[in-house]
Symmetry: C2
Subunit: 194 residues, 2 copies
DNA sequence: TGCTCCATGTAACACGTTACATGATTGC
DNA sequence: GCAATCATGTAACGTGTTACATGGAGCA
């Protein structure tokens, strides 16, 4: 149940509506913690029931049924309590590695293009992170503790993407040893028969 | 639903009972895909109903009610079909980064010890992976395509752990700038009042 | 009028986790 | 006999995903 705590953090930074939170999650926290709007609404409901947050029916304009949520002292206390807890490591868990292993067992399946595609996607993300870094954390500026932490979090993303890119390069090189036949899975499948 | 496919791969490598699969998942595939025995039994039931695998009631000895599962042609076909699919990237999703961000918002919470603890855990895993690498993939040996792929998968784990270790070192250095007061969360909490 | 975006929600389902239950075999 | 381990399962729950529904606001 740490989506609740991610939301608390986000609401402390700035009180918002559920919709805004969902959109904001696409940036900042969303880089390392995904949530759909349904999850967020469900969680906001629970948090309000628990007394961690409260909602005002309509803060600025009279349009729609927009609600703005803000954190109550109990919510801040809960966040503080939770942040001090120790949590298990997030383990590496990647579906593509299962596919690779399957490929090892039942002959070459022509994963080359998918490998390239994934490498390109990681490269896109890395570029995006670097752009954010250049804009928000220019070299030379020291920054407050808060900014240093935000920078650290961004660096985790950079490190993660760069690591995958390096690995995909290695994988492409290692699988290229199979030669051009790697692109024709059907032939190999027929070979195995069964 | 890719636990099913991980199990198919594992069963193709060697037909086993559910219990053996659960244990085997602690090694090999388990390094990047976790599953409890309950999940595995549930999934094996579904897969048998789908005609992907079959079970023999008692293969070797007459002990217990052990069942041995093996992959049927339909299961192999399904695995091949699935392996060729393209899947979205696994995104970075780490609870601790949420805690860090919370720490940035509501003052220093003394995350230093937890940071050290997590770095040490990653270092343990890295050491374990390196030991496996030294044992199973000695330098100089070329190996078959299958072995190269297994090595690649292991390298993904190594890369992942090494990346986190580097990041934690950076995080420890960046947060050490706060000085020794970082170890006393209570004082800072009181400061904020509210 | 119809289209798109803003904003909130329900319902059903898939997946993973935790707790608990059961019985068989092995070793002291 | 008793404990530990092997081996399989049920039940309940928490979280995440997908599909669908609703209605207001702004604009062509």
């Amino acid at each position: 149940m740490s989506l609740a705590h991610a939301l608390l953090t986000s609401l402390l930074e700035q009180p918002s509506s559920g919709y805004q939170l969902a959109r904001r999650f696409d940036k900042s926290i969303g880089h390392f913690w995904r949530a759909t709007h349904q999850q967020i609404y469900r969680e906001l409901g629970r948090m309000e029931k628990a007394g961690w947050i409260r909602s005002e029916p309509d803060p600025d304009a009279g349009r729609g049924r927009k609600r703005s949520y803000s954190v109550l002292p109990a919510g801040e206390a809960e966040l503080m309590r939770w942040a001090g807890e120790s949590a298990p490591l997030t383990e590496l868990c990647d579906e593509f590695l299962v596919r690779l292993r399957a490929d090892a067992v039942i002959g070459p399946l022509g994963l080359g293009p998918e490998l390239e595609r994934r490498r390109a996607l990681h490269a896109d993300k890395l570029r995006a992170y670097h752009a954010i870094e250049a804009r928000d954390f220019p070299p030379g500026a020291e920054g407050s503790r808060q900014r240093r932490i935000h920078h650290l979090i961004l660096k985790a993303g950079i490190q993660y993407e760069a690591g995958w890119i390096a690995w995909y390069d290695e994988a492409l090189a290692a699988l290229a040893l199979d030669g051009p036949g790697e692109g024709k899975p059907q032939a190999r499948c027929a070979d195995r028969g069964r």
